[in-house]
Symmetry: C2
Subunit: 150 residues, 2 copies
């Protein structure tokens, strides 16, 4: 992908907060998060379907799940001070858009990491929430090394 | 991408309608459409910004735009009989997800085609609507050759 020019201003002074509080990145990341999770969930459900049924599904990832994942990955420092759950979720979305645009990780790799991290019966709501939280925490822990240290 | 297995059931008897009326594909395609358009719009606005400002933005593409694009590309045959605008938009989303999953076109190529097709001042709402409609019509016309003839 040749979209690095969309990060030119950010890259001039790259900090955890300049990435994690960028509103535009968060908007784009919202799309990346929902799409990668939808495909990962479809893969997981298809792989684990007892009747070999193919499952294609779309799913919006809740702000709560993303906020919890950011906390569990110890990455609240990317968000603004006194951030609420909505801010923390936006930060996850911004980070993921940054990683995608800067080609640190391809969308396919994100999808595979999420799909391989899902566990349990996702048709049960509280299990899906817990499983999605763990999967996004794993993704954040994985991409930490590509992000500024402060 | 190795997601072709998510199309296995469809590929057994591939028709315009089996693609265009698939609810799961439409859900996934909703994400692809919004993400590709968001990045394409960001690229277009950044390229054309008089102050060399970088613009990152997210944008949900309306059902009306997608429905009109399907009609303008003469691809209503992919939708169900007596389809309303919502059905037609879902059909566009399903087609785009199918093309992405089957690797006929990479997401980057879709983004570039959309970005190169946008024109005019997208900050004026009716101009953006018209421009987005034309861009998605071009995308549909481009991918027609990868789709079943009936």
């Amino acid at each position: 992908m040749a979209y690095n020019f969309l990060l030119k201003d950010l890259n001039l002074n790259l900090t955890q907060k300049s990435i994690g509080t960028d509103k535009g990145l968060a908007k784009i990341g919202d799309g990346v998060v929902n799409l990668t999770y939808s495909v990962a969930k479809s893969m997981y459900l298809t792989r684990n379907n007892k009747n070999n049924k193919i499952i294609r599904t779309g799913k919006k990832v809740s702000k709560t799940i993303l906020a919890e994942a950011l906390k569990d990955a110890n990455m609240k420092s990317f968000s603004r001070n006194r951030a609420n759950a909505h801010d923390l979720a936006d930060t996850v979305e911004a980070i993921i858009a940054y990683i995608w645009f800067s080609e640190k990780m391809a969308m396919e790799e994100m999808i595979n990491l999420l799909a391989d991290s899902l566990t349990g019966d996702l048709y049960i709501r509280h299990i899906e929430i817990e499983s999605a939280k763990i999967a996004f925490t794993k993704l954040l822990n994985h991409i930490k090394k590509y992000l500024p240290e402060n």
